[in-house]
């Protein structure tokens, strides 16, 4: 029972990370209509900036904001130099241009840091575990990730639903031309939204540092899953991204944790492990295919 509970929490933790990435992706898609494959690169930049500063200063408290700033700056630069030219293009051009950006960012990182993965230690304050209920301990760092993610979720909800900027974002997502006609600088709005998305991706990246290896290609691994989240949740919806991320995170983690042992009851051990891992990896894609076939616009989008 505690094992299931622990895996559920791990699932929520993965879901929270996916949400941080999906929020930016879905906002950018909703408002600007751009598919940004290079969103994973911003996550990678956040992770590398965090790892570098943490190694140099030894302080996670300095590394954290630096990573966010680095990712946001990279994102805004990306928007003004490349993404802005893609608003009027079709999806094919967007996919290819941002695919090119992935290649460029990956190689830039390889040239700067080499191919060896970097490892970041957990900040000392969060090193250890917390007893959630008597007899059940959970790593403090992972718990902190969940808390940060939930706080960001609440913060984004407040920002989008209850501020003037959020109002413009919502209006821009549905009636961009009308917002422009009312005298709002949509270009600036786009850059800011893109920067916000990049900042969140960087946040996910720097938090991922201590639990994953910081390496080239880490962005693509999580990017594809983030797309699954966005499509399942419904493109352009923050609420959808949040719920979709939790669903995908939990489904993926539980499948990975329990699929091999289920298969082992009918197969040989090593083959069951390999096939179980494969089937578990397929799970979220299968989920996405089913959701798209039943509700082509996503689970949490209502009406036309």
């Amino acid at each position: 029972m505690t094992l299931v509970f622990e895996q559920l929490l791990n699932g929520v933790q993965l879901g929270v990370m996916l949400f941080l990435l999906a929020a930016g992706l879905t906002l950018v898609f909703g408002i600007m209509g751009v598919i940004n494959l290079a969103h994973g690169s911003l996550y990678m930049i956040g992770a590398y900036a965090g790892a570098l500063v943490a190694a140099k200063t030894g302080s996670f408290l300095i590394a954290f904001p630096t990573a966010l700033l680095a990712a946001a700056a990279a994102g805004m630069l990306m928007e003004t130099m490349v993404i802005r030219r893609l608003y009027a293009r079709d999806h094919l051009d967007q996919v290819l241009a941002t695919f090119a950006l992935i290649l460029i960012f990956n190689e830039l990182i390889t040239i700067t840091f080499g191919r060896q993965p970097l490892f970041v230690s957990v900040p000392p304050l969060l090193n250890g575990s917390i007893e959630l209920v008597p007899g059940f301990r959970y790593p403090a760092y992972r718990l902190a990730i969940i808390v940060v993610g939930l706080l960001v979720g609440v913060g984004l909800y407040g920002l989008i639903q209850h501020t003037r900027v959020g109002m413009l974002v919502r209006a821009g997502a549905t009636h961009r031309d009308m917002v422009r006609a009312l005298g709002i600088d949509v270009r600036l709005l786009c850059t800011l939204v893109f920067g916000l998305g990049a900042l969140l991706a960087g946040l996910a990246g720097v938090m991922a540092g201590p639990i994953l290896a910081v390496q080239v290609g880490m962005g693509e691994q999580i990017l594809i899953m983030t797309f699954v989240v966005v499509v399942i949740g419904g493109v352009g919806s923050i609420r959808g991204a949040f719920l979709g991320a939790l669903i995908v995170g939990i489904v993926d983690t539980l499948l990975r944790a329990f699929m091999p042992s289920l298969l082992r009851q009918v197969m040989v051990g090593s083959e069951a492990d390999a096939l179980g891992a494969g089937l578990a990896s397929m799970g979220v894609y299968l989920l996405m295919a089913i959701v798209l076939l039943v509700r082509p616009r996503g689970l949490f989008i209502h009406g036309q």
């Binding site: 999806h91 090119a100 290649l103 990956n106 797309f227 499509v231 299968l286």
Partner: protein
């Protein structure tokens, strides 16, 4: 209209393609033949993708599924041919190209029918993502199939045989690929001008208009997707023979991206574009990889410039040159 320039270019192209292995041997660069074989094979794949992407407007981000599956059909048939036990306990493996390639096309056609039938219910980003999802499922399936090499892939010790030909010889295999590529080129040319091709273009431009004219867009898109998948499967089968190796790498989503790059580099929805794009990308990769370890950054920059600054790719560039000279 077949202008003098176009005929001239075709004739030159044919002569160069036929003479290439002999020139390569003559100047002591036999590796050029191998490279040219890759170009032809990726040309077939890109031209097939262009059928869906260019003529049908179906942005498939999952064509690596067909490239990889085509290769795996060849690899698995060969694997069972060597070990002697039947595939799925049902039929024997083979090392005959004349069996394995049609089998690869058939399997890919069936997969394309299944993926297409489901995916075409969506459109736009959702279509891009669902095709990607299916390709990813296949990728993870083959990674986890330990019986067929899993992560490491399958080695095909000897190329599939063709009666009367020594396919182990690189030059012979080049000509086999050249012949198949030429047939594909002719078929695609016929296709683009056929009633079906014209209706498909109409569907791409306006689905509602074609529906109002009494056509069923879904059927046309589905058939285009299936034919596209079969062509890519053919390329995958040849690629596995060429490299004598097939691994989940050919199923990876970056492969789907590469195929799209080839089509766009050459010119979307044009007849010769994908072939030029495939040749250009394979050549670019070979040259850059020899020049710098970090060649992908240059590939990225070239790609970015092509997408942002040109519309129509290499095919349009050649057309402009042709217009100037005539």
């Amino acid at each position: 209209m077949p202008s003098a320039f176009k005929l001239f270019a075709l004739a030159i192209g044919a002569v160069v393609l036929i003479a290439l292995p002999f020139i390569a041997d003559g100047i002591g660069m036999p590796a050029a033949t191998t490279l040219a074989t890759s170009m032809l094979i990726y040309g077939i794949a890109a031209a097939s993708l262009n059928l869906a992407l260019g003529y049908g407007g179906l942005v498939s981000f999952g064509h690596a599924a067909f490239l990889g599956l085509g290769g795996y059909v060849v690899g698995i048939l060969y694997h069972h041919f060597v070990s002697g036990d039947p595939v799925f306990g049902w039929f024997a493996g083979t090392n005959q190209l004349i069996v394995s390639v049609p089998a690869a096309m058939l399997v890919c056609g069936l997969l394309a029918a299944a993926i297409g039938a489901l995916s075409l219910r969506t459109s736009g980003v959702q279509f891009i993502m669902i095709t990607l999802a299916f390709a990813q499922m296949l990728f993870f399936l083959f990674v986890s199939l330990k019986a067929y090499g899993g992560d490491d892939g399958l080695i095909i010790r000897r190329r599939n045989a063709l009666p009367g030909l020594d396919t182990r010889d690189d030059t012979t295999f080049y000509f086999v690929c050249l012949a198949i590529a030429a047939v594909c080129w002719l078929l695609l040319q016929r296709f683009a001008r056929s009633r079906f091709g014209v209706v498909l273009s109409g569907v791409r431009q306006s689905e509602r208009r074609m529906a109002a004219l009494g056509f069923t867009p879904y059927i046309y898109k589905l058939v285009a997707f299936i034919v596209s998948g079969m062509g890519t499967g053919l390329a995958g089968a040849l690629l596995a023979n060429h490299l004598r190796f097939v691994s989940p790498d050919t199923l990876h989503w970056t492969k789907s991206g590469e195929l799209m790059v080839m089509v766009v580099l050459g010119g979307v929805g044009t007849l010769s574009g994908p072939w030029l794009g495939a040749a250009a990308l394979v050549a670019l990769e070979a040259i850059l990889a020899a020049w710098s370890e970090n060649w992908q950054i240059f590939l990225g920059l070239v790609l970015l410039v092509v997408v942002l600054l040109t519309r129509g790719g290499l095919d349009r560039l050649l057309r402009l040159l042709g217009r100037r000279s005539s």
